[in-house]
Amino acid sequence: MSKAQRLSLHVPAPKVRPGDTPDFSGVEIPKAGEVRRPDVAADPRDIRDLAFSVIRVLSRDGEALGPWAGTLTHDELIEGLKHMLTLRIFDARMLMAQRQGKTSFFMQCLGEEAVACAFQRALHKGDMNFPTYRQAGLLITQEYPLVSMMNQIYSNEADPIRGRQLPIMYSAKDYGFFSISGNLTTQFSQAVGWAMASAISRDTKIAVGWVGDGSTSENDFHAAMVFASTYQAPVVLNIVNNQWAISTFQGMAKGGSATFAARGHGFGLPSLRVDGNDFLAVHAVAKWAAERARRNLGPTLIEYVTYRAGGHSTSDDPAAYRPKEESDEWPLGDPILRLKEHLIKEGAWSEQRHAQTEAEIEDDVMSAQKEAEAIGTLNSGNAPSPRDMFEGVYAEMPPHLIKQRQEAGY
């Protein structure tokens, strides 16, 4: 036996930390339009390359290029732009409201707006999303009332879920939006189950699972992949890789794999990787995967490459763990700016219309906020009754809970 080598532990770390210069030189980005678009019925084994590239449509110059382009009209894109703007303005106002003490907590989608807003456009009425806390765009794209979202955030008397959940943990069945859980990733295997149920029932609806880069390490990520793969469930499994999981960089979850999309290969799933800040590319890929599911061709795994430009939540200050300027250096740019520039380039939009639209949306959001605040904010008094806390634990309240409710005085 030769002299044994001493081992050492490899602990991944990001290249830069606060004080350092942002460095995205390792992020390989192909040119827009370069990645091929296989047939939706393609054999997963023949499209492994798509997990290692980045599907992009919008070029640096705002042109829509390549085989994934052309899934949306100008009008649709303008609508999408408005939705993203609405989400961003909504987020900014609610962040402020939290700072003003009108609620306890908030989480924004800053920088990631394209992912949910573009994806939702590929879905049909009746399909079901199983979202995380960073997919408010799914609701906004369907024009779910902003005031209902705010009522939930304020936990006021009109909160659709009766003050029971943390802010932004919406539930909206009629909008294909499953009740958000605070526990990471649990919804991923449920999405697969829902899709299986649709298939068992010989229905036509599909399901969509959502998860963050960090959350791919959780048990349910694996369970979802196993079940999706085994039963070939009509589900789209989305990984939003926004580079961070609170203070932890994506390399900690990704480990030795080149990409998150590659996780799908061990399960024989078609696995795509897409520019998450490119509204057109996200939509094109979503449409491809949704069609696969609808045609009973099975599940698809998609990684959206994006960047969490804000803090993880209002409890977080990213300056403690990453360079302040990192967000500005993010090589895939800002999804709203990119779509705006594209539409202007196409002659379908202008700086002026943009400014005007922004102002209109500001007004809409503000008036929704006024409406919600007129009902109440957290601690302002007009909260759901304590009685509500006892309701709905079961369909019918069992005797021990009635007793407790009475003891509580309600």
């Binding site: 149920a197 298939a199 068992i200 369970a223 634990v393 369909a395 005797p399 021990h400």
Partner: protein, 337 residues
């Protein structure tokens, strides 16, 4: 009516429920073609097809997670965890998801789901085929927890659980699968054939959840038991000659506190028996409730006769199992003071 073992009764409950309601789907490890390692789902795949009764990958988490998604869709999954000892990987989905879905979505989504699993020892299964983890479910708001002790109750309660609009944990005392067992392992096995509770209607029927069953009326002391311990308790009465009232709880949550209170107020004495480990077991909750509700009627301290606070051993199975001798001693002690 037919003579059934508890296994057959459970199979029959599945069959009746699947027959009347298309939304009922059944899956789990080895549950499909083979019909389950205990045969509780035998024949269902053949009868209802492989999309209503099927095998699952060995992922308790995935099984429960998928079932929650199916329940939210509108199906009525009734799933099997092969042994209760293997439910822990799925605990997160049960506690954080199934139990809370209705509440946290204010009824927007619901979770009508039954999770069946064999519990308890007495079969030389060692520490990973003998556990009774009911207490980790009864502590969770939003779950119902049920444990039948006879073929008749097993079918009626399982049908009720499948009908229930909320998640139900359905615990099957595996030592009772083939016959009642009173802890006398040295005696030959008694089959259900010779027991009145082995007479089971072949048609659909429900036993409502939340109701205890007085298994033996008595005046001297109240025994609260469930599962296998119901027979152990009865044996202890016979052997000591103490006229105890044996209450088979059947439903741990919701709990039939009225039946319990009435009995303890009558007897003034209470012995609680379960197979699970003592500390933090459901017996603690029962003792707390009994003294809260019957304090001024109690003549002697409530005793708990349970599994010891150790892993369930293999060789020392009968030293671990709370048998009729131990229960009998507790009854005597209750009567002495």
């Amino acid at each position: 009516m037919a003579n059934m073992t508890m296994i057959e009764a459970i199979q029959s409950a599945h069959d009746s429920a699947m027959d009347r309601d298309e939304r009922v789907v059944v899956f789990g490890e080895d549950v499909g073609f083979f019909g389950g390692v205990f045969r509780c789902t035998a024949g269902l795949q053949e009868k209802y097809g492989s999309t209503r009764c099927f095998d699952a990958p060995i992922s308790e988490l995935g099984i429960v997670g998928a079932a929650i998604g199916m329940a939210a869709y509108g199906l009525r999954p009734c799933i099997e965890i092969q042994f209760a000892d293997y439910v822990y990987p799925a605990y997160d989905q049960i506690v954080s998801e199934a139990a809370r879905l209705r509440h946290r979505s204010a009824g927007d989504f619901t979770c009508p789901l039954v999770i069946r699993m064999p519990v308890g020892g007495g079969i030389f299964g060692g520490q990973t085929h003998s556990q009774s983890p009911e207490a980790i479910f009864t502590h969770v708001s939003g779950l119902k927890t049920v444990m039948p002790s006879s073929p008749y109750d097993a079918k009626g309660l399982l049908c009720a659980a499948i009908e229930d609009p909320d998640p139900v944990i359905f615990l099957e005392p595996k030592r009772l699968y083939n016959g009642p067992f009173d802890g006398h392992h040295e005696k030959p096995v008694v089959p259900w054939r010779n027991h009145e509770a082995g007479e089971v209607p072949t048609d659909y029927y429900v036993e409502p959840l939340g109701q205890a069953r007085v298994r033996r009326a008595g005046n001297d002391v109240t025994i609260l038991a469930y599962g296998t311990m119901v027979y152990v308790a009865q044996a202890a009465c016979d052997e000591t000659g103490i006229d105890a009232e044996v209450i088979d709880l059947r439903s741990l949550l919701p709990l039939d506190i009225d039946t319990i209170t009435e009995s303890v107020k009558k007897t003034g004495r209470c012995v609680i028996v379960h197979e699970a480990t003592l500390t933090g077991g459901y017996g603690g909750e029962l003792a707390a409730l009994v003294q809260e509700n019957c304090f001024y009627h109690l003549e002697v301290p409530i005793q708990r006769i349970t599994g010891w606070d150790t892993p369930y051993p293999h060789a020392q199975e009968w030293d671990y199992f709370p048998g009729p001798a131990r229960v009998g001693r507790a009854l005597q002690k209750a009567m002495e003071s």
